[in-house]
């Protein structure tokens, strides 16, 4: 994979095929933890961390375990198993060796176990036939796109809190409308091929 390919893969994963705005993966944390920009950034960081590592590990599991035995049809089950164990392992590891990062990620790390964005990135890596570097780059950039989306959204929501919308729109309806508008803004990237 050449440097140019890596760049184009990153651009595509972050903006053109943004996980939230063009694929609708990870909508739960996108709506749930986007109350404050700080927590949104924390969630984004945790997702980035897990998605990069899990992308590489699931790639290895698929390449060296599932494919040789012809078990490709079981990849979803295998990936869930791997991701769940991996998140647990990462949590223990961080707690012991990098306690500051552990407390910064806090409650978000275990929440990621059941995040569909992580699973879908693992599945997409396999579907698109990336190599190990491609898997790492794709996982990292897709998560970066997620972080970008959730942080921007949290910033907008922080401003909306002091706004005075019509009563019927207050709260969740307004959040969903805002999400739609943001998705429209991101749609300007759609169709760009590098």
């Amino acid at each position: 994979m050449s440097f140019g390919q890596v760049l184009s893969l990153m651009f595509t994963a972050i903006l053109v095929e943004n996980f939230i705005f063009s694929k609708f993966y990870g909508c739960c944390p996108f709506l749930g933890v986007s109350d404050k920009p700080d927590t949104a950034l924390g969630m984004g960081m945790a997702v980035t961390f897990v998605m990069t590592v899990s992308g590489m590990v699931t790639w290895a599991v698929y390449e060296y375990l599932l494919e040789p035995f012809g078990l490709e049809y079981l990849k979803t089950v295998a990936f869930i198993l791997v991701i769940a164990a991996l998140v647990q392992f990462i949590e223990m590891f961080l707690r012991k060796f990098i306690p500051t990062l552990y407390s910064a990620l806090g409650i978000y790390l275990p929440l990621i176990t059941t995040n569909c964005a992580v699973l879908s990135s693992a599945l997409l890596i396999v579907q698109n036939d990336y190599d190990l570097l491609g898997a790492a780059v794709f996982g990292f950039s897709a998560a970066l796109g997620f972080t970008l989306a959730i942080t921007v959204f949290a910033g907008v929501r922080a401003r909306l809190r002091i706004a005075n919308p019509p009563r019927a729109f207050k709260g969740f309806p307004l959040t969903l409308i805002t999400a739609g508008l943001l998705a429209m803004a991101f749609s300007c990237f759609s169709g760009i091929k590098l």
């Binding site: 035995f69 078990l71 079981l74 647990q88 012991k96 060796f97 409650i107």
Partner: protein, 264 residues
């Protein structure tokens, strides 16, 4: 159909699961972090709601702070009395019994008794009215009755009755949200056991208070003189009751010429 088609995947997944299980078990041992054994014990007695009311990220962080001595069990506003006592026992510290509180509006100047200087037709909000020359009531300390406290009360314990806020004691939990929003600062958080209260906070001289309100404390000091417990003090031209000393005998209410010391 061959048996290997069934057993191979099952075997591989069982092996994978076993491998991860063993790895995690080893990791749990290898990466074990020593924590104070009191932390999980304290955590058991905290409410576990992770509400953040103590200013920490959750009950686990609070438990850690309590064990480290950075916080007192009393800092948790949700914890039950038994829970606090249990935590106190674990930590070997004395825990104060929380006194149940409730809010009370210290104003009796309703539409019939208070003098109105003008007719306010602005936004239905006490804070807005307060900014417009202190609101329509002649008394600077009177309840504006526009319901800013009603809006912030999550428990629907406040309603406006004849121009002043009235608090439903059955619903009030004493959270103090109304007291902090009231621009006149006339909502007080008092112990639930309180028997009497002075329904006026006017710091005007008696003669001026008389002009603004048919009720209102004129600082005659009759209550102060007649209180057998010395629980009433008149300061800044207004009486107030020290609820710790008050026994609820009711002599002050009897003597008050303005009838603003009332049972609460």
């Amino acid at each position: 159909m061959q048996w290997s088609e069934v057993f191979l995947p099952v075997g591989i997944f069982a092996a994978l699961g076993l491998l991860f299980g063993v790895l995690l078990a080893i990791a749990a041992r290898a990466f074990a972090v020593k924590v104070d054994e009191r932390i999980p014990k304290v955590l058991d007695h905290l409410p576990g709601a992770n509400c953040g009311g103590c200013g920490r990220s959750g009950c686990a962080a609070m438990a850690e702070a309590i064990v480290k001595g950075e916080a007192s069990p009393n800092d948790c506003t949700v914890c039950s009395a038994e829970g606090m006592a249990a935590i106190g026992e674990i930590m070997g510290v004395e825990v104060k019994k929380p006194v149940p509180m409730r809010a009370h509006v210290m104003c009796a100047g309703d539409c019939d008794t208070a003098v109105h200087r003008f007719r306010y037709e602005g936004a239905i909000d006490c804070i807005a009215a307060e900014k417009l020359g202190g609101g329509e009531k002649g008394c600077k300390y009177g309840c504006l009755g526009l319901g800013s406290c009603v809006k912030v009360c999550k428990y629907h314990a406040i309603h406006i009755q004849n121009g002043i806020a009235v608090i439903d004691d059955n619903r009030c939990i004493g959270c103090g949200a109304c007291a902090s929003v009231c621009p006149k600062h006339i909502i007080y958080i008092i112990p639930v056991s309180s028997k009497y209260a002075v329904h006026c906070r006017s710091a005007e001289k008696g003669i001026d208070t008389r002009k603004q309100c048919l009720l209102g404390c004129i600082s005659c000091r009759l209550c102060e003189k007649n209180c057998p417990e010395g629980a009433i003090k008149v300061e800044n031209f207004v009486a107030s009751i020290d609820q710790d000393k008050c026994t609820g005998c009711g002599k002050c209410a009897e003597k008050c010429p303005r009838k603003i010391i009332r049972p609460v």
